[in-house]
């Protein structure tokens, strides 16, 4: 056969090229550490894909580059030289239709089985409700008296079912070390299952464009030992009533996402800073000037569009804080007033 020698050389080069490509991919395409059972399983599929990519990349590129080098027109060739004349080869065409078909079916079955594995409910799951809003996260533990916080803390080795929803636009929950991702849809609750395997500190970052501060919609995720988790939840749920109102106010400000737009250090974010706000004179967008006293602050939290601080846009701040606060206060049997706490906290920023 005319090309036998060429094919032999190419075959060797493809093997060498595939191994080289795989080593290259291994060097430049690192995944973050795997910190969940799902991540370990998914990384196996990643590896399978990288092997396939390396082989196919080398296969196509080696053939093309070999042709470029060996089958180029040489200086000694006459001006009107033509290549070999053949139109195609039905056997080959059928072969390179069937071969990829088999490969994609194998990967499809692998993917489908893996997917059913990672979404299957486990026994003794712990439920955490995740709620997103522009541009903050809230995590509620229904099995621990609906305790709510702005960081996600989970015990290692405990299967967890996250129930995700959004209060405004689409968001997406993604901790790269867990590998799995799920959008948060307003008006709907969707599930995501994770079994953390490595203690450590991670972050969840919103992965679906959600407006101005999308890049900064980040919360801490901590995986801790079972005892540390029990201690943390014990400490967090009991002490809040005993705190000073201003200290509680600071916690609420984080938990309800206020600090996403209102800084405590004078930085201009999407909303006015709270530093030196209390009792200061404020220019409104309507042209009026008002004093930022307690009434103004409470009104601005409950009805944010009423009095717009000049230089800031309306309709950015959520308008449902009255309901959210009431639901939260119920957990403490009305022993706390979130509005009063927030005012007390804002007051301390002017002292």
């Amino acid at each position: 056969m005319k090309y036998a020698r060429h094919f032999a050389i190419v075959a060797v080069l493809v093997v060498v090229g595939a191994i080289g490509t795989y080593l290259l991919l291994d060097a430049i395409y690192a995944l973050p550490p795997a910190a969940s059972e799902e991540a370990v399983a998914i990384d196996g599929l990643f590896r399978g894909h990288f092997i396939l990519i390396s082989f196919l990349f080398a296969l196509v590129l080696v053939f093309i580059l070999y042709s470029v080098v060996v089958f180029r027109r040489r200086p000694e060739d006459p001006e009107d030289v033509e290549g070999d004349h053949f139109h195609g080869h039905t056997g080959l065409e059928i072969a390179w239709t069937i071969f990829p078909l088999v490969v994609v079916i194998v990967f499809g079955v692998w993917g489908a089985r893996l997917l059913t594995d990672i979404i299957r409910p486990a026994e003794e799951e712990m439920t955490v409700q995740v709620s997103g809003q522009q541009w903050s996260w809230r995590f509620t533990y229904p099995e621990h008296g609906d305790f709510t916080t702005d960081e996600l803390v989970l015990p290692v080795g405990q299967p967890v079912r996250l129930e995700l929803t959004s209060l405004d636009v689409l968001h997406s929950f993604w901790v790269p070390e867990f590998r799995v991702k799920q959008d948060l849809v307003p008006g709907q609750v969707h599930e995501l299952r994770i079994t953390p395997t490595e203690e450590g500190e991670y972050k969840t970052r919103c992965a679906e464009i959600c407006g101005t501060s999308h890049a900064y919609m980040i919360s801490d995720v901590r995986i801790v030992s079972a005892t540390a988790f029990d201690d943390w939840i014990q400490e967090s749920t009991t002490s809040i009533v005993e705190l000073e109102p201003a200290e509680r106010g600071q916690l609420w400000a984080q938990q309800f996402g206020c600090t996403g737009c209102h800084s405590a250090d004078g930085t201009a974010l999407a909303g006015p800073t709270w530093l030196g706000l209390y009792n200061s004179e404020i220019q409104l967008a309507s042209g009026e000037t008002v004093v930022a006293d307690e009434d103004y602050i409470i009104n601005s939290i409950l009805a944010p569009n009423d009095q717009i601080h000049s230089g800031f846009s309306p309709n950015i701040m959520p308008q449902n804080f009255e309901e959210l606060f009431a639901a939260e206060e119920e957990k403490y049997d009305g022993e706390v007033s979130i509005l009063d706490d927030l005012v007390a906290y804002i007051l301390t920023l002017s002292e």
């Binding site: 995944l31 239709t97 079916i105 990967f107 464009i209």
Partner: protein, 631 residues
């Protein structure tokens, strides 16, 4: 004095051109529409409702723009029972160049109008990309605010799509009639309409950036797109109106190919590019409507509060709206449309490879049918954009299989290209280099796809920079590189002159390595956890160095494209006159003088052989002067 007089003449021709009239017409229409709605509401004692007034102005402005440009003239005369002649040639009493700025019915003029528009819009989109690439070179905010960042990346997306669609229009309009031996498109007036409705739509997209901008990306997912500022609304309308262009030009291409081929040109004897163009047109003709519907529904939710996508809107026990429904409607078009971008590009690769390999195209029928197969399978895969959206969990599995299936016809193309170059006598002028560059880049794009197709790996990669790397590689490999190859290849046909080969090669050797670095870098940071569409990133991700590298690579790509533009512009007058058939091609358009005559072929040719029989002695594809058929 002579200079002043020629300047005055130029200004006169420019200011009375169809383009200027279109823009003035649009402005006047917008003002009237805005005034009507605002005025009526004022008379009724209602608030001004700025957005509704803008929408009325936008619709009226498109109509008056087309009217002022002169696109609708013939149709309006027909409606009143008058006949019109199909005008061809330069406008009477005006210089030749003015026909490119006005309404013209010649498919080659329209093709060039599309091509120039495509490149200008590409420059706008490219500059936007470079602005935010420089912002992303380091963590922290450098010189943009998050809101301007969001507007710029959103605009980059839709503006590049407009550019690519114009580029697809350029190739289809210029090449298809020429390749099949037709004197023009089947519907020349509709052809002009397709181009000219793009002008006001593009203006709306650009205006959207300046009226408060928008932050939804080009996908405009509700509820964000329902809550977004006024810019969102203008973007929705610009996107919507551009759809008319797609649908009308697709009809034109399909009818032209089906009814106007030269004698003897059976479907399997057409130049292979035509197959790519037909497959792309089938998609444009049948899928564009759903995205138009989705965009209109968002508009109605914004204007009238109709809660199609509002999950909190429920009256008297009626089920609420569903934000995910939008994503189904959107991707039912917006996935297939990527094949509209790449199928003509892949057609260019298949068209040029045999010419520069001096060999027949390997497996012509397989390549032709694989284009149709990609178009067909492309309709069945849209939900892979929604694997994390919250759609039905197990419905993801059939969509995973259909998505992976795209690899099969795509593989057929790659393997057939190998068969084409194997055993040839390859030469490497600039167009061939860009074809080979396209294959390498499309390979990166293609191979980074299946890992997104399998759901478990997609759960990590979704909305990450892996996606950004993947689709830029498919768009550059499937469209941008082939488009540039086509520009260099047909430049002597269009202008009659030869571009500068050294500058062409310089362009290639800057752009290809630049693109590899950019694309591979984007995939790397995506794996590490870099999200798409973020103005700022956490240094803790460990991606700073790669980000800087990507920015440098993007700047290199930008500079290389400026070199191409300089090359094309400076070769227009100064370069040597090109040989009539510089590539020694068998294709019919190279058998007649360059630039192409007004009606392409003085007498119709007859197809007497296979299109790509390079190396077969005494064979030709077309007989340019067939004996008269004694009638």
């Amino acid at each position: 004095m002579a200079f002043l007089r020629s300047l005055a003449r130029f200004l006169y021709y420019f200011l009375t051109s169809g383009l200027v009239r279109a823009l003035v017409g649009q402005t006047i229409g917008m003002l009237i529409g805005y005034g009507l709605v605002a005025g009526i509401r004022a008379l009724m004692g209602l608030e001004p409702a700025r957005e509704a007034a803008w929408v009325a102005g936008a619709f009226l402005g498109v109509f008056t723009s087309l009217l002022a440009a002169g696109v609708l003239g013939d149709w309006l005369r027909w409606a009143t029972g008058r006949e019109t002649k199909l005008r061809h040639g330069p406008p009477p009493g005006r210089p030749e160049w003015t026909r490119y700025l006005g309404v013209d019915y010649n498919h080659k003029v329209i093709g060039i109008q599309y091509g120039v528009t495509s490149i200008l819009v590409l420059l706008v989109g490219g500059i936007l990309a470079l602005i935010f690439r420089i912002e992303l070179a380091a963590p922290g905010m450098q010189f943009l605010t998050p809101d301007t960042y969001n507007t710029i990346f959103s605009a980059h997306g839709i503006i590049m799509i407009a550019s690519i669609l114009a580029g697809v229009g350029a190739m289809g309009n210029y090449l298809v009639p020429m390749m099949i031996g037709a004197s023009d498109m089947a519907f020349p007036r509709l052809n002009a309409f397709s181009f000219w409705i793009g002008v006001p739509s593009a203006m709306l997209l650009i205006a959207a950036m300046f009226v408060q901008g928008w932050d939804t990306g080009w996908v405009a997912y509700p509820p964000l797109s329902v809550r977004g500022p006024l810019g969102t609304q203008l973007f929705l309308l610009g996107f919507y109106l551009n759809g008319f262009s797609s649908i009308a030009s697709a009809i034109n291409i399909l009818v032209t190919v089906l009814t106007m081929r030269a004698p003897g040109m059976s479907l399997f004897r057409m130049p292979i590019f035509v197959w790519g163009s037909v497959a792309a047109s089938i998609i444009q003709f049948t899928a564009t409507q759903t995205v138009g519907l989705a965009l209109l529904m968002v508009t109605m939710q914004r204007l009238f509060g109709l809660g199609f996508f509002d999950a909190t809107y429920s009256v008297a026990g009626i089920p609420p709206g569903d934000p995910i429904l939008y994503q189904h409607l959107f991707w039912f078009y917006s996935h297939p449309v990527v094949y509209v971008f790449v199928l003509p590009g892949l057609g260019v690769i298949s068209e040029l490879l045999p010419v520069f390999s001096r060999k027949p195209l390997f497996g012509y029928k397989w390549i032709a049918l694989s284009s149709l197969a990609i178009a067909l399978v492309g309709f069945l895969v849209w939900s892979h954009h929604m694997f994390t959206s919250g759609m039905s969990e197990f419905l993801r599995i059939p969509f995973m299989f259909s998505t992976l299936l795209v690899a099969v016809p795509t593989g057929v193309k790659f393997f057939s290209w190998i068969g084409t170059v194997w055993g040839g006598k390859l030469t490497f002028p600039t167009p061939m280099l860009f074809v080979l560059g396209a294959i390498s880049v499309f390979l990166i794009g293609g191979l980074s796809g299946p890992i997104l197709g399998t759901v478990p790996t997609d759960l990590h990669l979704h909305d990450s920079y892996w996606i950004v790397g993947h689709f830029h590689a498919t768009m550059f490999g499937g469209f941008v590189f082939p488009f540039f190859a086509a520009i260099y290849y047909w430049y002597p046909k269009i202008t009659g002159r030869m571009y500068n080969e050294t500058l062409g090669k310089l362009h290639f050797w800057l752009m290809v390595p630049g693109f590899w670095v950019m694309s591979l870098g984007q995939m790397r940071i995506g794996l590490l956890g870099m999200r798409r569409r973020i103005a700022d990133y956490d240094p803790a991700l460990g991606v700073d160095f790669t980000q800087t590298l990507i920015t440098i690579a993007a700047l290199v790509i930008g500079w290389s494209i400026l070199i191409m533009l300089y090359n094309l512009a400076s070769s227009l007058r100064a370069a040597p006159v090109a040989a009539p058939n510089p590539w020694n091609s068998r294709s019919p358009e190279w058998q007649v003088p360059s630039p192409m005559p007004e009606f392409n072929y003085d007498q119709p040719f007859v197809v007497v052989g296979e299109p790509y029989d390079y190396g077969l002695a005494d064979s030709t594809y077309v007989n340019m002067s067939p004996a008269p058929t004694g009638d």
